[in-house]
């Protein structure tokens, strides 16, 4: 029975045609792509703050049509390789959530914050290509967005379980669906030919010690997720702190004192990403906790 649900849910998830985003970033990018003099860098900077738009360009550039599936893990590179026309096409064909955007805002902030934190973790661990790690952080909860779009009833039931049973979102997913967003992430990353590094981070950020090929990416996203939750910036669906895997720090070669540096860096740089207000007219003090 459970297997049946998983199979049909997987089919639903992978059949996703239209992945909507929130209006704020989309409006900004739409404005940018209308001007042919806009630089790719400027567009990349804005798209990097939106998990859905980033996922869309990475999916496209890694599709077999372009001839190098699974190779490109940076938004900037994706845009260089796709070119202005294709980017414009992606942007104009992207829709926005009509009803859910309030509940989604917290998740968007959580993801952008996680991108920042994961990038800082990678820098602290002196890893090459910190940008790639930021992408891992940005996309670590993409499965939650896709589930909300493709399995709205089940998604609602998960939210219900979080509230009534005092569960973490990840635990509630397992209780309701039988699998978590980490599994959904793995399906999506595989189906979209995303690079193996991103796939591993997306599918193993809850259990970095189980990462098979790219434990660094999974561990960095894990620690990034922890950091952004410590700051209670945004909302991944629940407001519980995630347990920090000691193993993750070990994989990255970081000590707890390194974590302090990351936390300080996050506090310093938060204003940069939180400048992306998802609802500028709604600047209440507890705006991070949307759910």
């Amino acid at each position: 029975m459970e297997e049946d649900l998983k199979t049909s849910a997987k089919g639903q998830i992978l059949s996703i045609r239209d992945l909507p985003t929130l209006p704020k970033v989309l409006d900004e990018v739409s404005r940018l792509v209308q001007n042919p003099n806009t630089s790719i860098e400027a567009i990349a900077k804005v798209i990097s703050r939106d998990q859905v738009l980033s996922a869309k360009v990475l999916k496209m550039v890694n599709s077999p049509v372009y001839g190098f599936p699974g190779r490109i893990s940076s938004v900037q590179h994706s845009l260089v390789l796709l070119g202005f026309n294709v980017i414009r096409g992606v942007i104009i064909s992207t829709s926005v959530f009509d009803i859910m955007s309030k509940t989604m805002e917290g998740l968007w902030e959580h993801s952008v914050g996680c991108a920042l934190a994961t990038g800082l973790v990678a820098r602290q661990a002196k890893l090459k290509d910190p940008e790639e790690f930021s992408v891992c952080g940005l996309l670590h909860d993409l499965g939650k967005v896709v589930a909300a779009v493709q399995l709205p009833e089940l998604h609602k039931a998960v939210g219900e379980a979080v509230r009534t049973q005092d569960l973490r979102w990840f635990e509630a997913e397992k209780a309701v669906l039988g699998f978590g967003h980490d599994r959904i992430n793995a399906w999506l990353a595989q189906h979209w030919h995303l690079p193996a590094t991103i796939k591993e981070a997306m599918s193993s950020h809850h259990n970095p010690e189980r990462a098979q090929f790219y434990p660094l990416h999974a561990a960095a996203a894990h620690v990034g997720d922890f950091v952004v939750r410590v700051f209670e910036y945004g909302n991944g669906g629940d407001d519980q702190a995630a347990p920090l895997s000691e193993q993750a720090l070990k994989i990255l070669g970081l000590k707890l004192t390194d974590l302090d540096v990351v936390l300080d860096g996050f506090a310093e740089n938060l204003s940069e990403v939180s400048g992306v207000n998802f609802s500028p007219e709604d600047m209440t003090p507890d705006k991070g906790k949307a759910n």
């Binding site: 042919p36 003099n37 630089s39 790719i40 372009y66 001839g67 190098f68 190779r71 490109i72 893990s73 590179h77 260089v80 390789l81 796709l82 070119g83 202005f84 026309n85 090459k128």
Partner: protein, 316 residues
């Protein structure tokens, strides 16, 4: 007068025993544009076709001595002739025979009764389509040599000012040897996208990008932006290419492989070299001059193991 579709006179062969059809075809084009040779028997025509392949072949299904399908199959099964477009002429009754277009590799068909204007446009469309398909690089789908040469010669003839850049990849062969052809093709596809999108990122300019073959590309831009275009291509290429290596090689920033003599050798990561020739004040007369100058410059660009560009300063 309307601009002609074709750079030179086109030659067509019509295989048909039907004199009316022959008259129709010959009346539809000025022979300076497209000249038809009509042959009434199929078998005899084969040798003519093989010796002097026309630009287009039209085969009437009313041929007595050989089915039109066989003519098409013979032509299309030889790699040197298969680019030759073939149009079949059918009677309405022929349609009922059942046509497997995977087996009959014709490019189009015409149906009796023939309408002159339609025949004319169909034949011209088929010719244009064939020249596009023939010339595009099969991997990147960028215009190939024929288009590149005719574009350059055209600009030279019009005495337009332009910069012609030849790009090629350094150490592509060692990458191919270690990682195999399909990984090599990935790099060629990536390079094509980098060049095309970099050139297109200059709004409102006339430009052209072609793929000579292998790891050789050209682009044409206005002289004023040539250097900036080179800088951007080099920067984007250098930024992206490490991601096409496996992690250990990327980490090491070189590849280690064993050559045929069993010696271990290291090769740097791939780089892009660009040689730019300027045509200012109509100094070039022929395409060959441009490529000869570029080849000389390329040697200079290649002396640098990193990505680099060399501009032909003699022009200034």
């Amino acid at each position: 007068m309307e601009p002609t579709l074709f750079a030179r006179q086109q030659r067509g062969i019509l295989l048909s025993p039907d004199p009316e059809l022959a008259t129709l075809f010959q009346s539809l084009w000025d022979p300076k544009e497209l000249v038809w040779t009509v042959i009434g028997q199929g078998r005899r025509a084969m040798e003519v076709i093989f010796n002097e392949p026309p630009d287009i072949l039209v085969v009437d299904n009313r041929l007595q001595d050989i089915p039109s399908v066989d003519v098409a199959t013979i032509v299309k099964s030889e790699n040197v002739y298969r680019q030759l477009p073939v149009i079949l002429c059918l009677d309405p009754g022929d349609l009922a025979l059942g046509w497997n277009w995977n087996v009959v590799e014709a490019d189009d068909f015409l149906l009796r009764p023939f309408a002159g204007p339609e025949v004319r446009e169909r034949v011209q469309l088929t010719l244009c389509r064939a020249s596009r398909a023939m010339d595009a690089n099969p991997l990147t789908k960028l215009p190939g040599n024929t288009s590149i040469i005719s574009r350059i010669q055209d600009l030279i003839d019009r005495q337009d000012d332009f910069a012609l850049a030849y790009c090629d990849l350094d150490h592509f062969k060692s990458f191919n040897d270690k990682y195999g052809f399909s990984r090599g093709d990935e790099v060629l596809m990536m390079s094509a996208r980098v060049i095309v999108n970099t050139i297109r990122s200059f709004p409102g300019i006339k430009s052209f990008v072609g793929h000579i073959g292998g790891d050789d590309y050209v682009f044409i831009v206005p002289a004023a932006i040539a250097e900036e275009a080179c800088k951007r291509v080099v920067a984007a290429f250098d930024d992206i290419v490490p991601h096409f290596y496996d992690e250990d090689d990327r980490e090491r920033e070189c590849i280690v492989s064993t050559d045929r003599q069993g010696e271990v050798r290291t090769f740097p990561l791939m780089a892009i070299s660009i040689a730019v020739v300027f045509n200012t004040g109509g100094r070039l007369k022929h395409y060959g001059e441009a490529s000869a100058i570029a080849m000389g410059l390329k040697k200079k660009a290649k002396e640098n193991p990193k990505s680099s560009y060399v501009l032909d300063r003699r022009a200034e």
